[in-house]
Amino acid sequence: MHDMSAPAVHHHAPPTGFIRKYVFSLDHKVIGEQYYALALVAVYIGLVLSWIMRIHLAWPNFAIPGLQLLSKTGAPGGVMTPEYYLQLMTMHGTIMVFFVLTTAPFAGFGNYFLPIQVGAEDMPFPHINMMSFWVTFVAFCFAIAAFFVPQGPPLSGWTAYAPLSALGSVAGPGQGTGQVLWAISIGIFCIGQLLGSLNFISTTLDMRCQGMSLMRLPLSVWAWFITSCIGLTAFAVLMPACILLILDHVAGTSFFVPSNLVVNDQLQPHAGGSTLLWQHLFWFFGHPEVYIAIVPAMGVVSHVLITNMRRPLLSHRVIIYSMVAIAFLSYMVYGHHMFVSGMNPFSSIVFSFPTLAITIPATIIVLIWLGSIYGSKLRINTASLFALGFISMFISGGISGFFLAQPSIDIMLHATYFVVGHFHLVMAVAALFGIFAGTYFWFPKVTGHMMNDTLGKIHFWFTFVGAYCIFMPFHYLGMAGNIRRYQAFVDDFMAPLMPVHKFITIAALITGAAQLVFLYNLIHSRFWGKPAPANPWEGTSLEWSIPSPPPFDNFDGKLPVVYHDPYQYGIEGSTGDYVMQDSPEQINSVRDEK
């Protein structure tokens, strides 16, 4: 068989020196690992913050040991003040949404695997790619710095609603310097994501190897591509919003602060601003952002499930079209976060309709997954378990969205724990399950070692059961009227709910502890795990055609040539029940894409 692969041209030489190899690296794989490491640090910070919040909610007067070290004024003697609860809540949401859910599944896995899966040696703009990570890192530093300024981080929530977020320190602790640091952090984060999206889009469109048509791209690549398109327009709106917020703080402008506002008995000097303007700008970004968090996980889950089912999904194209439809509709639904903001009720109908409509492509994707799994001999390993868990979480969390999509019901449920349960299940936990599925699936490729599957399954079951124990009761709490963003529940009607809160807190502590099992498995396997073959899962996409870990230039000087679609499973091939994408072997398949 003659070699038909095209020779490659290296655009940057192999790195030498520690700094170039591991710090300011131009290699997309190292950049992907850096993003993942950043997300790993961020998720444990967010986890600890959630623990502290949950302990306070269950036992408001409990002195948390060491908390006073973080803030003497916020937690004197370890008992946090109401304001400090809100400050921790703000940073929990900010760190988790931006530095975990946007970073790991998209920037982390995407940077590592997108070039390999399209058959490229690297992204077309490696310097910009390097800059995108370090810009994100600087953004993270600004966010963490907010903990250490005198009044601490902001307390306006990750949504930073004006006028609270725009008034300065008169509005509360952390609303001065802390809020400005938050806005700078998020503004810089937007720049990092825009730089990353630029590379993702260019790589997908222009760097595909020969034979790799768009319809032959793996679903993970489609997911990253669609996500980067969403991110391009979403983050480009959030950045202006942050700039305007910073100007309201430091330049005396009044973009978001209305006239005649009296706060703490002081008439505010601002005049004429629009508080709704912030909400419109923020949620125009904010709703696409939740799809930025979930669509990459959908791609990963599709990819993992297909490999373990040993057969393609019922329809490759419909999944792609559905993800595109979700991306398109995501810009039309943002007003469902603003049903009770005072907007014209007619506009609520205008936003409610596409919000319900967006469930159609999402349901199509879920039904295709479920229909494909039915009757398959799904291989059960940790990656496939987390993929199944993703589907479970997505369905559970998605169903509660039906209620919130309707303005008449949302009037009762807005700002209750029902909303908190909904978005934690459908976005946070589901995306985390996608991240875990991707980690267990691709860890062998990245490191050359297998993760311990037994520890992985322990991690899965504790996390799966624990997540339901934590977030399902949130729906009940919300329906019972439990208001969100309260640091204690002293009203008569909420006091009977305290046992539920205690149960949730205990579940959260146990589930959080299970994440330490994952961390141990990750670190231990990295150094002492069983050596991994190049293709441990018998996958067909291009990443499984190269050694584990991949060489510097991915394909060792010879770009691959693709002959088949990415999911030729259940085919009798020379390798077994599958045919690799770059195998020139001729096969009989009705489903092979051109």
Binding site: S202, L232, A241, S254, F255, S274, H280, S589
Partner: protein, 225 residues
């Protein structure tokens, strides 16, 4: 069951990849003398990259525009003022720089293709473009000074807030374009030039976009401020 027989895909040779119109991103090499690359040639990845970047910048300015329209309607404190007249001169300077840039591209292409051995015309037109760009930025400073002399500052009024916001942000983006020109000049001025056609094309698209964006902003400010 239907049988699909796969024809082997057409394999391009390395030469075809390197010399075809729009070869792969970083396969793009400086053309050897006598090659027939167009002055407008740029690699697909560079083209895609610059259009993606411009899409993001467009979206940001659209967001600012919508914020301005909402803010104007939100309250009765919007005060109109006359735009500094130097802005119109600056506009002509920026448009002139787009014209000189096109002259520069033709000269650079001729030099890189070996049709002209002397790089001076290329450098002259590139330096002229860079100079006009700097003149534009300096002119914007003059405009801000003129407004400050009238007592119109960023926080004076929402209209002035948006004026300063738009013009400062645009000037910052122009400075980014000037950094690109600096890179182009540095690469072509080397004893052995390492400038790629795609680099100059990318910078050119960006620069022309800055001109077009400025026309839009000027019209916006002229009608709204």
């Amino acid at each position: 069951m239907a049988t699909t027989v796969h024809e082997p895909p057409k394999i391009k040779s390395t030469d075809e990849i390197l010399t075809s119109h729009g070869g792969g991103g970083w396969h793009d090499q400086p053309p050897s003398p006598g090659s027939l690359r167009s002055v407008y040639d740029s690699s697909p990845a560079s083209r895609t990259g610059v259009w993606v970047g411009l899409a993001a910048i467009t979206m940001s300015f659209v967001a600012f525009t919508s914020a301005m329209i909402v803010r104007e309607g939100a309250s009765t404190d919007w005060r109109h003022f006359t735009l500094p007249s130097v802005l119109y001169f600056n506009t002509l300077v920026l448009l002139a720089s787009s014209v000189t840039l096109e002259f520069a591209r033709k000269r650079v292409a001729a030099f890189l293709h070996g049709e002209q051995l002397d790089r001076s015309p290329s450098l002259t037109w590139l330096w002229t473009t860079l100079g006009l760009g700097l003149l534009f930025v300096a002119g914007q400073f003059v405009a801000w000074d003129q407004l400050r002399a009238q007592g119109v500052y960023m926080a004076s009024n929402p209209s002035s807030s948006f004026f300063y916001l738009f013009t400062v942000l645009h000037a910052l983006h122009v400075l980014g374009g000037l950094a690109g020109f600096t890179l182009v000049l540095w690469r072509i001025s080397k004893p052995v030039p390492t400038l790629r056609v795609s680099t100059l094309s990318t910078v050119s698209y960006y620069w022309h976009y800055m001109s077009a964006l400025w026309i839009y902003l000027l019209l916006l400010l002229w009608t709204r401020i």
